[in-house]
Amino acid sequence: MSEAPRPFRLSLAGYAICMAGICWREGLRFLNQRGRFLSALVRPLVWLFIFAAGFRSVLGVSIIPPYDTYVLYEVYVTPGLVAMIQLFNGLQSSLSMVYDREVGAMRILLVSPYPRWFLLVSKLVAGICVSLLQVYAFLAVAWFWEVELPPIGYLAVVPALLLSGLMLGAMGLLMSSVFRQMENFASVMNFVIFPMFFASSALYPLWRVQESSLVLWWICTFNPFTYAVELIRFALYGQFNPLAALVVAGCALVFLAASILAYDPSAGVMARRGGPEDAK
């Protein structure tokens, strides 16, 4: 009489190890790419030191929540620059997924016995962990530039960073499933990052935008990045913005679901479009 195979079960500890391994590898890659860390840090600092300093006298910011007094322009743009770090990092992680797919390394991840949705979420978590390092390095430098936040803000911002990092990372992941080559993806980054960043409340409050262009105001209002910026802005001052949290969480879920579907072995774009090259 033949013996039935033992039911195979993935343990919780195994899940934790798998996610830890993916984060560990992302961390190693990050440490090996010092240029990536430097550029991630220098980019917002240039905005803070040069752009914000230059526009300090031109762009006045009235008292709007979460601020309870007038703030310097450098202080106003800091949450937007934090969100910019996450935006770049989310798309950078996805760029590395396109690269992994191009060189074949993606296959090693996808043939793991753990569910594909879990592997993709783990990749996102790994990217968010890396972005947290970048954000705190930026905030530390900004502190010396007299952008001093309430101490509670440095802690309260963590959940906001996790949520916004998840949304932006999932958006990048979705884009990485569509593009087959690095070149295509890199050009799309230009069409995504800059419009998202500029058409948001990162650099100027929305009431100012509304004064100058109603169309632009509508665009900013429908831009999910605006809500990521506001979520972070409020959290940095120990406050909670429920609308921003709701929009960011909703967009994160939609982007994540779409990217899991896109990478699904039976329904995803890889399965439909393909050829063996797509399986990389």
């Binding site: 195979f8 190890i17 590898r25 074949g104 991840l109 016995p113 072995p265």
Partner: protein, 265 residues
């Protein structure tokens, strides 16, 4: 040629009767282009099965389906009795793969690449490190454990990929044209390493290639051409089926475009 019955399944077949791999009536198309057409084959445990086919035969598509990079929509694929679609975790946990394209992270060290793979299979860091040193010693690369992968030769990279595929002690090893681009000595060493694994550890190997010299008289052979199985069986049985004196002649007969090709299919 072995004809495999289509099992009336639940998710898993009884273990005692399960070969390392069975593929039953699998057809797969990309749009209108049929890459695999009613493919059935098996790889017994403890066997070296060569999957022979020219470029574009469908070998890589077959590997993609076995490893569930995408799902088969018709037919069934079992690894050690576990249906790849219905019980993917069980199937993939028994499977080691060396893909045609190099899949090592060049920026990481040899042991870091292996450790990463170990964690993807739920193996902890300490156990993973021990196992990594073990498989690297078997591959003769223990002294290169700390080196960055980019400093290795092509042959060494392939050996590392095989070592990586063995990290989680699979029962089935798939290798997709692993010797492409290697010199003769590296190629021979790699084939010998894998044959030793079959003999010593009793794992089933499916070795996709179009290099005839890599096949010996003790191997099983599957010939795939234009998405269809042209022959499957023991070395001598395939030669007899093709009416050929050696594998090279059999291969040309079975995949050639002459009048014999259709008969062989």
């Amino acid at each position: 040629m072995t004809a495999l019955p289509m099992p009336e399944l639940p998710g898993s077949l009884p273990l005692g009767s399960a070969p390392a791999l069975t593929v039953n009536h699998v057809t797969h198309a990309f749009g209108a282009r049929k890459a695999l057409d009613d493919v059935s084959l098996s790889v017994p445990t403890g066997s070296f099965t060569a999957l022979l086919g020219p470029n574009g035969a469908g070998k890589t598509t077959l590997f993609s389906l076995i490893t569930r990079l995408y799902d088969n929509r018709t037919g069934r694929i079992d690894v050690l009795g576990h249906d790849v679609r219905r019980a993917p975790a069980a199937a993939l946990s028994k499977l080691g793969v060396v893909f045609q394209a190099r899949t090592l992270d060049l920026e990481l060290s040899v042991v870091q690449n292996l450790l990463y793979h170990a964690t993807l299979h739920g193996m902890g860091f300490a156990a993973g490190r021990r196992r990594a040193l073990e498989v690297l010693a078997q591959a003769g690369l223990a002294d290169r454990a700390g080196d960055k992968v980019r400093r290795l030769s092509g042959g060494q990279m392939r050996r590392v990929e095989i070592a990586r595929a063995l990290m989680h002690r699979p029962s089935l090893l798939l290798l997709d044209e692993p010797t492409v681009g290697l010199d003769i000595a590296s190629r021979a060493a790699l084939v010998a390493q894998v044959r030793a694994l079959v003999a010593q550890e009793g794992i089933g190997v499916l070795w996709a290639t179009h290099i005839i010299e890599e096949i010996t008289a003790t191997d099983r052979i599957v010939v795939l051409h234009r998405g269809r199985i042209r022959a499957e069986g023991a070395h001598d049985a395939v030669l007899a089926q093709a009416g050929a004196a050696d594998v090279s002649e059999a291969f040309l007969t079975l995949v050639g475009d002459g009048p014999d090709a259709g008969a062989a299919a």
